[in-house]
């Protein structure tokens, strides 16, 4: 089979996780791997700005597509031609190593042409507006734009002007959808039964400034987890209003739609937790008056072996990186039993391949 058979339509993707043809045979690595029974509808979202718009069946589809991509990654030559001829531009306005490289590897594994733009090295540093930059990127032939920006909502603006697909690689405090999807994928791999339902998950750290926390709130609560956000009160501001809204049943007397709690009591958050996710604490929070000192944070909220003793014996430990070891997480916890931290990075590539693949299908559908 040659390139014309590489369908970008998700009609050929399916919830099954059967082994891919060509597994283990290097000569067959370019054989289109994603022939599956048809789905009812193509991927409906042109962009991936956040996970909030994804229905549960759509999230399941991302998970299953990630399974397929994981199989591709285990091949000797982990490459399929799904995005051959497509141009993926990676435009990062903030320093990043793992997300940027993860998207780049993912796009290259799908045979896309990848252009990397670091904002510091482009005319952005000469004062070019975001809208002008997007127009320029489009004029240079980009089909898909992976974007990171320090201002919440910046990808929403980009999506107004870009005729292809925008993938949010993290915007301000708002969203980091690919991180939430890879966290969900990693947890489903490791929690017994592959289900988060009823599992207590504690996210501990700088919640206020965290796009990882915000995107994870959508997916983890949608998966049925009992979610606890924990940190100093100064870094939780506003979240109780969110949790309260989601604990309120739409109809009086009905069960709470989502398990969602906010607390600055670390022992309450960790008690019997099945999963603990630590978030990075940045030094500028101390300078901004939100924390008395990093030392005090580590003493009161740092995830240590002693604190984890109150959690479930099989507790899983996560961190989106980069870590401040000794501040929000103790070094022995980061590499200890139950740590999924390196696996999060590995799964990141497969999840990003999956979303690039699905969005390419949506773009094709739209242009067709």
């Amino acid at each position: 089979m040659g390139r014309p058979d590489v369908s970008l339509s998700v009609d050929h993707l399916a919830p099954a996780a059967a082994s891919l043809p060509g597994d283990g045979a290097p000569g067959q690595a370019l054989v289109p791997a994603l022939e599956r029974p048809p789905l009812a509808a193509p991927w409906p979202h042109r962009h991936l700005l956040d996970v909030d718009v994804l229905s549960w069946p759509e999230i399941e589809l991302v998970m299953q597509t990630t399974d397929a991509m994981g199989e591709v990654l285990r091949r000797p030559i982990p490459r399929v031609p799904a995005l051959r001829g497509r141009s993926v531009t990676i435009l990062f306005y903030e320093a990043s190593t793992r997300t940027r490289v993860s998207f780049e590897v993912a796009a290259k594994n799908l045979s896309a042409d990848v252009v990397n733009i670091a904002a510091q090295s482009s005319s952005v540093s000469k004062g070019e507006s975001l809208v002008d930059t997007i127009r320029t990127v489009e004029a240079l032939g980009a089909d898909m734009l992976v974007m990171r920006h320090a201002v919440s909502g910046a990808p929403h603006l980009a999506a107004e002007y870009f005729s292809g697909s925008v993938l949010n690689g993290g915007d301000g405090w708002h969203a980091h959808p690919s991180q939430a999807l890879l966290d969900l994928y990693t947890l489903r791999q490791h929690l017994p039964g592959g289900s988060l339902r009823g599992r207590k998950i504690a996210i501990v750290g700088d919640i206020l400034h965290s796009r990882v926390a915000r995107s994870n709130i959508w997916t983890l609560t949608a998966a049925g987890a009992d979610l606890w956000l924990c940190g100093p009160a100064t870094l939780l501001r506003g979240f109780e209003s969110w949790a309260a809204a989601w604990r309120t049943p739409a109809v009086p007397g009905a069960p709470a739609p989502r398990g969602f709690h906010v607390t600055s009591d670390i022992s309450a958050a960790l008690r019997d937790a099945d999963v603990v996710m630590a978030l990075r604490i940045q030094r500028e929070r101390q300078a901004g008056g939100l924390l008395p000192s990093m030392r005090e944070y580590a003493a009161r909220f740092g995830i240590t072996r002693e604190r984890l003793a109150a959690a479930s014996p099989e507790v899983l430990v996560m961190h989106p990186g980069p870590m401040n070891e000794g501040v929000e997480i103790a070094p022995d916890v980061a590499v200890g039993p139950g740590s999924l931290i390196t696996e999060q990075v590995t799964n990141g590539v497969a999840v990003r391949m999956a979303v690039l693949y699905l969005l390419a299908g949506a773009t094709e559908t739209r242009r067709g």
Partner: protein
């Protein structure tokens, strides 16, 4: 259109800016808050003078309802930015006056946060000269700054500004940060019986703030702008006013664009205590809410009470992070909008003021956090007020009062004219059709500022004619006035 033309006049003789030679409006709904009266009637304007008002009764009044052509006194806006001098790409006194007339306003008070700021009599004179040169009959009143250079440190030339005709003093766009400067400004301005108009905001609580602190800002990852930032400033200003009154009984405080329930309550109590404090609310803080930032487009009074969110309620129909909604103070929760409406109803709030803040695309077509604050709103104020009337939330005569006699009381003698439908004086009135919805878009807005969150929406109350001091300031093109 034909029906409306019959109920007003076939054509208005004379062009814009000219004395209205003759205009008869028959079978309309007259609203005169000065007389506390509304009902069917007719008016005749001749040579710029409101020559005759006839209130119709019995058979003659049959079929005339407020859901049709309405005649009211010309509107007064206590708070607008016409951007001249310094930001003429966003608005000028001439384009702003045209927009105001299109919105039904015949008097507009301009804020002095221009470049240079209006902190001296010379700059104030230049703005008044621009108003005279515009040819618009709209009355332009100008506030001077409270502090020199709006820097918040030393008093501006308040006495010279007062002599040059300043209508009051404001550092709007920013609060008067220093309590000491506020105290001295209230004392000094009190000598001229002029109000200090404060933009109440505790800047220590709003560094980098982007949206009302609450559910929507939290979910959207926008830096919270707490209610307390406004309430703390309002409480401070009221405390200082009470103190100042002990030595200068003519001191007067006006708090502009109040947006949260707590501020309205603080003013309510201060007025019960007899303090000379007045306040206004903008149309957008009355009618919109922070849910619009998430893409919701329902009016605030349509939001169900209680802990709801636009995501779960499925009310989000537009894209999130629309920068035309970025404004200072930010759009608040629906409950705050309801408190603003309650204040407008019960008399705690004296006026609807537009805070018309035009911006260019350069200032708005950027990331939300980097976008300029402000809504171009002088042409949509009547429409939003009428939406509240249509929804049964605000009686028509009270809405008109908040746009006419209410702000007139705040301005006092500086307005220089009586307000109301009174025979024998210069005609100063607006004629609009409450039943005629018009489309808000970039072409229909006369302002240079197209930064309206209402673009694409139809609002009730097409303005058919605006007559300021006897002269034609606006005529709907279909009425056939000659430009």
């Amino acid at each position: 259109m034909a029906d409306r033309a019959r109920s007003t006049a076939a054509a208005i003789p004379g062009g814009l800016g000219q004395l209205v030679a003759e205009l008869e409006i028959s079978r309309a709904w007259l609203v005169d808050p000065a007389a506390g009266r509304e009902g069917p009637g007719e008016i005749v304007v001749r040579d710029g003078v409101l020559e005759a008002i006839t209130w119709l009764e019995g058979d003659e009044a049959a079929g005339i309802t407020p859901a049709g052509v309405i005649v009211a006194p010309g509107f007064i806006d206590l708070h607008a930015h016409f951007r001249e001098p310094g930001f003429e790409d966003a608005e000028t006194v001439a384009t702003g006056s045209a927009a105001a007339a299109h919105g039904g306003f015949t008097t507009v008070c301009l804020m002095p946060n221009t470049s240079p700021p209006i902190d001296n009599a010379g700059t104030l004179g230049a703005v008044r000269a621009a108003a005279a040169a515009s040819g618009s009959p709209i009355a332009i009143l100008v506030y001077g700054t409270v502090s020199a250079g709006r820097a918040g440190e030393a008093l501006a030339a308040l006495g010279e500004l007062a002599d040059a005709g300043a209508a009051g003093f404001s550092d709007d766009g920013a609060p008067v940060r220093s309590a000491e400067v506020m105290r001295n400004a209230l004392l000094y301005a009190g000598m001229f019986g002029l109000p200090v108009i404060d933009h109440p905001e505790d800047p220590g609580l709003t560094v980098g703030a982007e949206a009302h602190e609450g559910l929507v800002a939290t979910i959207l990852g926008l830096k919270g702008w707490p209610s307390a930032a406004e309430e703390a400033a309002v409480a401070r200003d009221i405390a200082i006013l009470a103190d100042v009154l002990l030595s200068e009984p003519r001191a007067r405080l006006h708090l502009t664009h109040l947006s949260v329930a707590g501020s309205i309550e603080l003013v309510r109590r201060a007025r019960l205590a007899g303090l000379p404090v007045t306040c206004d609310v903008t149309p957008h803080h009355m009618a919109l809410s922070d849910e619009w930032l998430a893409g919701a487009r329902g009016f605030a009074w349509e939001s169900a009470a209680g802990a709801t969110d636009p995501w779960r309620g499925g009310s989000a129909t537009a894209r999130a992070y629309d920068t035309s909604l970025k404004v200072n103070p930010p759009l608040r929760r629906p409950a705050d909008a309801a408190a603003c409406l309650a204040g407008l109803l019960d008399g705690t709030v004296d006026a609807i003021a537009t805070d018309h803040a035009p911006h260019t695309a350069v200032g708005k077509d950027v990331e939300f956090g980097l976008a300029a604050n402000g809504i171009s709103g002088i042409e949509t104020a009547l429409g939003l007020a009428l939406e509240a009337v249509v929804a049964g939330r605000l009686p028509l005569i009270r809405a008109i009062e908040l746009l006419t006699t209410g702000p007139a009381r705040v301005l006092g003698a500086r307005l220089g004219r009586p307000v109301g439908l009174a025979e024998g004086g210069p005609a100063d009135l607006v004629v609009f059709d409450a039943a005629d919805r018009w489309r808000i878009d970039e072409a229909s807005l006369r302002s240079r500022g197209k930064n309206s969150p209402l673009l694409g929406r139809d609002l009730p109350g097409r303005v058919l004619a605006t007559i300021a001091a006897g002269r034609l300031a606006w005529a709907d093109p279909e009425l056939g006035a000659q430009e």
